[in-house]
């Protein structure tokens, strides 16, 4: 057990709260937040659900970088002071609570992780896999473009839908190639570096750019 200082950005008037807390190297940031909430500061608000990098709720900025709080251990960070802030580019509802509605609403309605016709086969199931994007918002927060750019996660999803032969081809294609779509990307690839789920959205956007308009 070592002592750490957890420094959390608070909502409302600008301020940081600092908590001194003992943890093992393998303790994750979400476990630290839970411990603070249940033992020292019940007013702390943050998002979490699965605790294993699969639901995407716990994304925030840890020591300056987008990351999943449940997949970041204090040992891996290697700093005694750990700062945690909410994702950028989303409205903030609580201390570490970002509202991801704008990103989710830009995603193609049918864009699911398994194709509709792959879902729920009663007999002779073809082996399926939930798709990789966990809709956490890390790539959106890391992307420096801003403005009315649709952003990496929805664009990556649109490209996947086009690859999978979605019924809504034309609709998705015209959105993906519109002015606020792939052409607005400035090739920073910050999205691919930030993605905790191996989606590499930057690669999908490059593929979209190659499509004829």
């Amino acid at each position: 057990m070592k002592e750490y200082v957890l420094k959390v950005s608070r909502s409302g008037p600008f301020r940081w709260s600092k908590y001194q807390i003992k943890a093992e190297e393998t303790t994750t940031i979400v476990e630290l937040l839970e411990e603070v909430e249940s033992t020292v500061d019940p007013t702390l608000t943050y998002r979490h659900s699965c605790h294993h990098g699969s639901c995407g709720t716990c994304a925030c900025i840890i020591n300056g970088k987008e990351a999943l709080a449940c997949r970041t251990t204090v040992g891996a960070l290697g700093t005694e002071e750990i700062t945690v802030e909410p994702l950028r580019s989303f409205p903030r509802e609580g201390d570490l609570v970002a509202h991801l509605g704008s990103m989710i609403r830009s995603m193609p309605a049918a864009g699911s992780y398994v194709r509709e016709d792959e879902c729920n086969r009663r007999e002779g199931a073809v082996f399926q896999r939930f798709e990789d994007c966990i809709e956490c918002g890390c790539c959106m927060s890391a992307c420096p473009v801003g403005g009315d750019f649709i952003g990496p996660a929805p664009l990556a999803m649109m490209n996947r839908e086009l690859q999978k032969g979605s019924k809504l081809q034309e609709d998705i294609r015209s959105k993906a190639l519109s002015r606020s779509g792939a052409p607005s990307c400035r090739d920073h690839f910050a999205c691919s570096r930030a993605c905790p789920s191996y989606v590499y959205p930057g690669r999908h956007i490059q593929e979209l750019k190659k499509l004829e308009r």
Partner: protein
């Protein structure tokens, strides 16, 4: 008709209760102290239980899981990966178990089928070559967050008021009947009194603490377990040990992960549960018995969650507590009675819809109206509808 119902707890159960009530014409107000599914529900193992695991012990639960898992596959296909499951026997002791297991599955209406050992490696090449017998069952994988968000979307689209970050501080009781709840909005710090004559306690492992707010004793045994995920899909089906249910005997694939679980102990306080890192080597070794490559896959995460078991038990007997759910109308049973309060606890993530139905039936009986349930054959909206303008999030 009294239409307002305060539902406490935003796990799968409370959200399914709110969904069911909203479809029956009620106006549920769901209060969850954190993010939705931040209690046990988000962290469960992810197995869509067809009931086979319970077939030997409790036929009723097995039947219920078979029934509910079939319904979920039909109403929420986007949140379920239905690849089936294999029960495999790996030791001599497991051997005698197979025929009995098949009989019990048949009695519970579970279409289990024996799979010749040679075929198993064709279906799932990573499964141990030393297995002695195998049985296919209709298990699957649940995406816990997306399944529950689908229910939440359905509830919101039917008018439910879902309030995450809203903690219930008190349940007000006058002359033996519920009159309201005191809640704190944790995002603003503001407290509010909600007048209501109907409250559903869907607090999972915290249900005992919540019932105590109304002066009711409800014995819960919060029973945590550790799970460990490795990177890589070792198998596509759920792989379980063909032996009496124990620790570390289920591997659930989810996304590009494989998850082994679980262990089980008893916690005094569900808010003070620490993930036991010492469980990890035990779990991955147990996984290797079924899938020998498991422990060589890169480690991804370990975490824990508390089972909301109903009843009181010592640490040695906690496995004997039932996995069944129970719905209690506190106006009708128990020493201290409170009219208008219902508790719905226990069960599985797989049985959330059925739990919603039972609690809503109980609310209907309190107000003396018969309104039928309509959740079993209505397709749920996708999880993203939770953020659609109509759902007000």
């Amino acid at each position: 008709m009294e239409r307002r119902v305060v539902v406490i707890g935003g796990g799968g159960t409370g959200i399914a209760v709110s969904y069911d009530l909203s479809r029956r014409g009620f106006l549920p107000i769901l209060c969850e102290r954190g993010e939705l599914t931040s209690g046990t529900t988000g962290r469960h193992h992810g197995q869509l239980h067809c009931g086979a695991r319970y077939a030997m012990g409790d036929r009723r639960i097995a039947k219920e899981c078979m029934h509910e898992s079939s319904i979920l596959r039909a109403i929420a296909p986007q949140a379920i990966e239905y690849n089936g499951g294999l029960f495999v026997s790996v030791t001599e002791e497991d051997d005698g178990y197979t025929e009995q297991f098949l009989d019990c599955c048949a009695d519970s209406g579970i279409p289990a089928k024996k799979v010749p050992v040679l075929q198993v490696r064709e279906l799932e090449p990573a499964v141990s070559p030393n297995i002695r017998s195998a049985v296919w069952v209709p298990d699957g994988t649940i995406d816990p967050w997306r399944l529950v968000l689908s229910f939440a979307s359905g509830a919101a689209l039917h008018g439910a008021d879902l309030r995450p970050y809203t903690e219930v501080l008190d349940i007000e009781v006058h002359s033996g009947a519920v009159t309201g709840v005191l809640v704190r909005n944790r995002l603003t710090g503001n407290d509010e009194r909600i007048h209501t004559a109907l409250v559903v306690n869907a607090g999972g492992a915290w249900a005992g603490k919540i019932a105590a707010l109304a002066g009711i004793q409800l014995d819960m045994s919060p029973s945590p377990g550790t799970m460990a995920a490795v990177r890589g899909r070792a198998t596509s089906m759920v792989i379980s040990r063909l032996h009496p249910a124990g620790d570390g005997d289920i591997i659930v694939p989810q996304r590009r992960l494989s998850i082994i679980g679980s262990t089980q102990w008893l916690a005094e306080d569900p808010d003070r549960v620490r993930t036991r890192s010492e469980d990890i080597p035990y779990l991955t070794e147990a996984a290797d018995m079924m899938v020998p490559s498991f422990s060589s896959l890169p480690f991804h995460a370990a975490w824990s969650a508390s089972r909301p078991l109903f009843g009181a038990a010592g640490n040695e007997r906690v496995r004997e507590l039932s996995r069944d759910f129970i719905c209690i109308n506190h106006g009708e049973s128990g020493g201290n009675r409170v009219h208008g309060l219902v508790s719905i606890v226990g069960g599985k993530a797989t049985t959330l819809r059925g739990m919603g139905e039972a609690a809503a039936d109980s609310v209907c009986s309190i107000i003396g109206q018969h309104i039928p349930c309509s959740t079993a054959d209505a397709l749920l909206p996708g999880h993203r509808s939770y953020y659609s303008p109509g759902a007000k999030r």
